[in-house]
Symmetry: C2
Subunit: 478 residues, 2 copies
């Protein structure tokens, strides 16, 4: 701990906090690096007097009460996998990190209710596994699931691949336990499908990115475990054809579409070139691809036959030019690998600019077409590699630097590129942050996009629930 | 308009309001009766200086601004079908009724997005029909759908028969347009499946029963139109067997269960006795029944065969003692009639006490068993006729007076009966208001059931969003 920190209000609380959480509940050295004070994307490296790791909700309540009295800010932290620096402390060392990691019990699973009561510090992967063991499925999947924790997943309203069918994290929450800004505990761990008794507080905390309260536990809805899964990669002429294909699957049986992902030809080419073991299941590359995953719990659904039937018609209509249906789990993995290695491949190709954007589903093809053209006009040779969740309207519109260009020069074009993309997004009534949230990276965009009455109401809610601004100050709201 | 009202602050605003909404937008006589100042259940008959009927959101904004300045309270009103008096004005004539009826346009339907942008005054039935015409389905159905309007449906987070599959009204909302307590308009009519840009305001207004803002329009999610529907009535030994049967359907394919309703033997007997045309499709009555409706958009699903297969096994296991599968739409209607006529039949049998309660789905059978026993112990001869949405844990635990008893005497036992039922509900971690809300009838229960930190947060939110308390004062919060 550097000397300059010892006299801060935060550091002055350390003895009292130690008395609450014990030695095991406090880390003071080293804390100013990953995995605590540096974020996942290495965008921010802050400082903190300590990482507080309470063992249970009562300890969190006592710690928050103490910090509230001293007006010392707190950054709640789960797996620290935020894409927007949402869980990293400020550089001035004024903020405690409150780690939820020790609240890691699955309290209860009920396979008839199809619910799971779970603490904030359980990783998403562990939660998925616990659901599977009970014969159910927690239908939420994101790249960071091995590290991301339930508390953060809910605080940021995580999305991912299965939103097209199951919605976002928000849609899976029946109940919450939250420590409020004065240290009071709200026990709202109800597992009811219907409960109209006052304001829906849980949905206020979900997605508030730790600025209104600390989520300590939750009741989540589960889904039946899939008995049959069918995966296909489809070569298509363009994004419009991919969207046409999505409409066909949706019209047939929307309840079976577990994922519908778009991949640009350029993005797949790059993966094939730089990722060992990546293989295209076609003789020649295509301008674009759609990855579709169907699943059902119904034992005799004949999903594979349905998939073939829809693809046959699409092939006949020229909507699909080639299709590969996975014949084994290994082949399923190989198809998904082409999608999942996009981020890694782009990293290896030099600097890249990421846009996590969404539009109404019907406008995704137009978004891809127009935003690609706008970026290519702005920077000659820029490689647009849009990919992601076409079925829910959320595209990761990533731009890779021109081959051979200076990465630093390209990154300096960051804002200009985001602006031309966002202009198209705005014109299509979309969002500048689909699933990654606001965190520290994007509050400056809030005034322009969500200003006026909307931002005013958000500010009034923040003031009402956290009048001293001790939870994640400076995040989300500009 | 009685003379005593002319000098109130509300009446003093009438000329200014008339200047905003015009003659067509104002009803001053007669207003102190149904359909305006008396509620659907005839529990409350209030008084109002006028029913204001603005033509659009801008007019509502101007009216609210005026009332906010004068601190005159407003009761937003849609179809006025609240079960808890939520849209009826107080008896002192101090409150305007703000009718949304003239905002009755379906603004847009997009069959690929599967969304509908719709104004608050459209009836639920009209909205369902508009969705069907577009080849989709608005998957929300309640008894009052012919009269209830979208604004009220959302403000009260309506539930109904299809919650088991599609969730409550809350789960169908992607965007909202709301007039706030200072008259500002929040345009949050986004039709995005993913949008993480700040607090989720829409879910705060949904279910707030008009106490935080006036919902003027919404974007709702649609579902694919069903191509196959299969309905069966199943005779079962008891509620536990009905719940067992639900588990079997859920394990087979939860996505096809469109409704799963429980009916008591006593309730069905009463319907058969007093409702003309009601017919039991079995040779002899049973202790209880389950009504299951399966539906799918998949054209070749073989739903009927699935239904038969599950019922065969259930019959073999003694879980079901008899089953009738509808062979036609007329037969489907006849089976549903036994369920839908419960309220009417009970009305004809004398006085009755209604409890709209919910518990976790796995505890519904225990709820029915224990609450029935508790009521029968309290009042000899009382006829417990629980029915409703077993698949989502919501039972209408209605109690009909003993045959030949004095209705007034029975109604005086109202609170005692509700208390013994609620004691069981509470023990099973349930809710005293599942889908009907709080309105004017149940705020007194909020302190006991939702008190402490939860109610404190609700009050802070009310204060933050409606500091002068002009929207529906005295409703929801005690």
């Amino acid at each position: 701990m550097p000397d300059t920190q010892v006299s801060t209000p935060a550091a002055a609380l350390l003895p009292a906090i130690r008395a609450i959480v014990g030695e095991r509940g406090l880390i003071t050295d080293p804390v100013d690096t990953a995995p605590y004070a540096e974020d996942w994307r290495k965008l921010y490296r802050g400082r903190t007097p300590a990482v507080i790791r309470p063992a249970n909700t009562a300890e969190i309540s006592a710690v928050v009460r103490l910090c509230a009295q001293a007006k010392v800010p707190i950054v709640p932290q789960g797996g620290n996998t935020s894409m927007v620096g949402g869980a990293s402390p400020m550089e001035d060392g004024s903020e405690f990190i409150l780690s939820l990691s020790r609240l890691n019990r699955v309290r209860e699973i009920d396979a008839l209710d199809m619910t799971m009561t779970i603490e904030a510090g359980v990783t998403l992967k562990a939660a998925q596994n616990a659901a599977l063991e009970a014969g159910c499925m927690l239908p939420l999947s994101i790249s960071a699931e091995g590290t991301a924790q339930i508390g953060g997943v809910l605080a940021t309203n995580a999305g991912g691949n299965n939103t097209v069918r199951y919605g976002n994290a928000r849609d899976l929450v029946l109940g919450l336990e939250v420590v409020l800004a004065d240290g009071e505990i709200w026990n709202g761990l109800r597992r009811l499908r219907k409960d109209n008794t006052g304001y829906c507080l849980r949905q206020l905390f979900v997605g508030s990115e730790g600025t209104l309260g600390v989520i300590t536990a939750a009741v989540l809805k589960l889904a039946p475990r899939a008995r049959e899964i069918a995966v296909a990669l489809c070569a298509v002429p363009d994004a419009a054809a991919a969207l046409d294909l999505f409409g066909r699957f949706q019209a047939y049986d929307a309840t079976t579409i577990q994922a519908f992902e778009f991949l640009s030809g350029a993005g797949v080419d790059l993966v094939l070139r730089v990722i060992p073991g990546a293989v295209l299941p076609f003789a020649r590359p295509a301008p674009a691809y759609a990855l579709v995953e169907l699943a059902t719990s119904r034992p005799d659904a004949g999903l594979r036959a349905s998939l073939e039937k829809i693809l046959e018609t699409a092939l006949a209509d020229g909507v699909v030019t080639d299709a590969a249906i996975a014949e084994s789990e290994a082949q399923r993995g190989a198809i998904w690998k082409l999608r999942e290695e996009h981020s890694e491949a782009q990293k290896r190709a030099g600097a890249s600019v990421k846009n996590d954007i969404s539009v109404p589903v019907s406008k995704v093809a137009e978004l891809i077409r127009r935003a690609t053209a706008a970026c290519e006009k702005l920077i000659q040779g820029v490689r647009a590699m849009p990919f992601g969740h076409m079925g829910d309207g959320n595209i990761h519109f990533n731009l890779v630097q021109p081959e051979g260009a200076d990465p630093a020069w390209f990154l300096a074009q960051d804002h200009a590129l985001m602006e031309v993309v966002n202009e198209v997004v705005r014109d299509l009534d979309g969002s500048f942050s689909a699933e990654h949230g606001i965190g520290r990276l994007k509050p400056y965009l809030m005034t322009d996009w969500r200003g006026g009455a909307e931002l005013a109401v958000m500010r009034r809610i923040k003031q009402a629930l956290d009048p001293n601004g001790i939870f994640n100050p400076g995040r989300v709201l500009p």
